[in-house]
């Protein structure tokens, strides 16, 4: 018993150190070279040789790293919750159709621009804010729909299918809107769809940070019911869990995390699916008391790593984050399958 606890603690410490190193690398590396000693000086608030260095770190790199940490933790824990709730190893936060809803919101705003005769992309900062708002609204509409249905449908499999169907419907509408939109708007929609951790400034962080934090705290508060629900609804209700209420809160928690992160960073693929599997492989436990915090840290690490990869010299910040997460996520999932782990649950 105590040996496994020591193993978990050791792994957690290792993960935390890796996260810290990646955070520093995210701040230190970029298209503009800044000496490491100067980076440290900026971080602890001492004056530096070149003013623009301090500006770059404060205004660009630092918020981007913080965004990556929050988004990575949020999406990963959302994925873990969905996999536990639906007892399906292929579930991820986008399975609820929430990110498709966000996409639809963005597309609606773009089409409005198309009809009124000017490209929204020309609006600059204001246009950017509108896109975020639209994405959030779209995501919330889908989330409410799912939550209402969750109270009506007792069967989780049904809910899963409804979520996927809502996603398809939203994607179809997006397709129609794209067809009628102006070229520039479609382009900006595509850019939004590629995802980015760089669009959260300190001003926007004042919204992003607290909302994601609420979601993360919510996930920690839901550890006990989530743990029991991995045994299925009947066992869970026999162990005193109020299934409908617990399911509502788990869906709300993942929904808010996904809606917010998708609105601010675009739909980030694969993190939510790959990180829980990676973490389960590393910790080899089913206990959510360990998995929830571990998945948050691992999600942050992977997001920071992807962000760093996307900015490798040569790519010049041009590599979209979504491409990187999928490139890392896909081999991970394949690796997990090849290792012979049972991805499909055998319910005898």
């Amino acid at each position: 018993m105590s040996r496994t606890i020591r193993r978990y603690s050791l792994l957690m410490v290792l993960l935390a150190i890796t996260g810290l190193i990646l955070f520093l690398l995210n701040v230190a590396l970029g298209s503009v070279y800044i000496p490491l000693s100067q980076v440290v000086k900026v971080l602890i608030g001492s004056p530096v040789e070149v003013d623009s260095w301090s500006f770059i770190i404060h205004k660009t790199r630092l918020p981007q790293a913080v965004t990556a940490i929050l988004a990575g933790a949020g999406l990963a824990v959302g994925g873990l919750q969905m996999q536990a709730l639906f007892r399906n190893p292929l579930a991820d936060p986008s399975i609820l159709g929430v990110s498709s809803g966000a996409g639809l919101g963005v597309a609606v705003v773009l089409m409005f621009g198309g009809f009124s005769g000017f490209a929204l992309s020309a609006l600059g900062w204001l246009g950017h804010l509108t896109v975020t708002m639209a994405a959030f609204m779209g995501a919330m509409v889908v989330l409410f729909l799912i939550l209402i249905l969750a109270n009506r449908l007792r069967d989780n499999a049904m809910l899963l299918i409804v979520g996927i169907m809502v996603g398809y419907a939203a994607s179809a509408l997006v397709g129609i809107l794209k067809f009628y939109s102006m070229k520039e708007d479609v382009h900006s929609f595509v850019i939004w769809g590629l995802g980015s951790f760089s669009s959260v400034s300190w001003v926007r962080m004042q919204v992003f940070f607290p909302v994601v934090l609420i979601g993360l705290v919510g996930a920690i508060l839901l550890i006990k019911p989530l743990n029991i629900m991995t045994l299925g609804d009947e066992y869970a209700s026999n162990l005193g869990v109020n299934i409908n209420r617990a399911r509502f809160w788990v869906l709300a928690c993942t929904g808010i995390l996904t809606a917010t992160i998708t609105a601010f960073c675009g739909p980030i693929a694969f993190l939510g699916l790959a990180v829980p599997h990676l973490t389960k492989g590393l910790f080899r436990t089913s206990n959510q008391q360990i998995l929830v915090p571990a998945v948050m840290v691992a999600g942050s690490i992977l997001a920071l790593f992807c962000n760093l990869t996307a900015r490798l010299p040569g790519f010049d910040g041009a590599l979209p984050i979504n491409a990187v997460t999928s490139m890392i996520g896909a081999p991970v999932v394949i690796y997990v399958i090849l290792r012979g782990r049972k991805l499909i649950q055998l319910n005898v």
Binding site: K224, L239, Q345, V348
Partner: protein, 342 residues
């Protein structure tokens, strides 16, 4: 003894939309503390539905289920968790879950907001694991266990919940014979030694007859019958409940027999364990053993130094045979010859 679960005029079944699909009504049964009860009946009779209704997973279609003096529907999930523990046919396979993890989840009704186990809880978990005989398997992955061991782990999960009643839906299904016997005896001992009321559904009639304190019989179109197994045999209830075309419950042997098998009489002389097994083999071949000296065939078992079976018929001299296999073969030949001459 305390009555744990009592039903009054209970009707069970499924609700499909607004239509009620009642499988059974007017069920009046009692699960009593310290009793080991087997629920028997053919497939589709509604055994699972009854168990799930008694556990509160399905709402009643009529009548009531009482725990103590309170209706089951008036209990909150939390209160229910302190009264009834279940083992279901569904055996969830959670990747990486160990025996300890699973049994620890059974302790959930006792743990705080984050579900952390205190010292008492940890002791209770280890005790439950050793009670079901899984000592040393605590850190074993559920997926690496045999079906029987996994079933024991789920029983430990129910045990650690410390409820007066435990309901199990076909706990012996998919298990090999030794595991079935083991599980049944484990449950019986739990009922008697820990004074729990244990109700399980099963298809293992033989085992149920041997171990159950009470048997509940459930079949389509018949009112539910309950009682001590021997009473039910003597009042022909068993025969009635399992009556199917061509298959009969033999009240004398407690076994199912083919009703249309041609029954011939044979005299068997012998004693002890050989007598039992030879008569079993003969009955399989369509002969009932008797002590009638005027029987057509006679088999004498000699077990002094070397075991011998002496077969004598209406014609010919007695044959000395070494194995039951030879005996049955010769008997068959003799029987054919006899039929021809008749």
């Amino acid at each position: 003894m305390r009555e744990l679960i009592v039903t009054s005029d209970l009707a069970v079944g499924y609700q499909q939309g607004k239509k009620e699909n009642a499988l059974h009504s007017n069920i009046n049964v009692k699960l009593i503390q310290g009793e080991f009860v087997c629920l028997l009946g053919p497939n589709g009779a509604g055994k699972s539905t009854l168990l799930k209704t008694m556990a509160g997973f399905i709402s009643v279609l009529g009548g009531n289920v009482f725990i103590g003096d309170k209706k089951l529907s008036d209990y909150s999930n939390k209160e229910k968790a302190s009264q009834i523990a279940v083992v279901l046919t569904e055996r969830p396979m959670v990747p990486n879950m160990t025996v300890y993890d699973l049994v620890a989840l059974g302790r959930s009704p006792f743990t705080g907001f984050f579900g952390r186990l205190r010292g008492v809880d940890k002791k209770a978990v280890l005790r439950a694991i050793s009670t079901v005989g899984l000592e040393g398997f605590e850190l074993r992955n559920l997926m690496q266990l045999s079906d029987g061991e996994r079933q024991k782990a789920f029983i430990a999960k129910a045990l650690v919940q410390e409820t007066p009643a435990i309901l199990l839906d076909e706990p012996t299904a998919f298990l090999d014979l030794p595991s079935r016997v083991e599980i049944m005896h484990l449950l019986k001992n739990l009922a008697h030694k820990q004074q729990k009321g244990i109700l399980l559904s099963t298809h293992d009639l033989d085992l149920a007859l041997q171990t159950a304190d009470k048997v509940w019989l459930l079949a389509n179109g018949l009112p539910m019958e309950t009682g001590v197994p021997e009473d039910l045999v003597l009042t022909n209830e068993f025969r009635k409940f399992f009556e199917r075309e061509g298959i009969l419950f033999d009240n004398a042997t407690g076994r199912f027999t083919m009703a249309n098998a041609h029954v011939k009489s044979i005299r068997l002389i012998g004693k002890g364990v050989e007598f039992k097994w030879v008569s079993r083999a003969l009955s399989r071949s369509g002969f009932t053993t008797s002590d009638d000296p005027f029987s057509r065939f006679q088999v004498e078992i000699r077990s002094n130094e070397q075991r011998e079976y002496i077969l004598s018929g209406p014609s010919g001299k007695p044959m000395r045979l070494r194995t039951i296999e030879d005996l049955l073969q010769q008997l068959k030949i003799a029987d054919e010859q006899y039929k021809l001459t008749e």
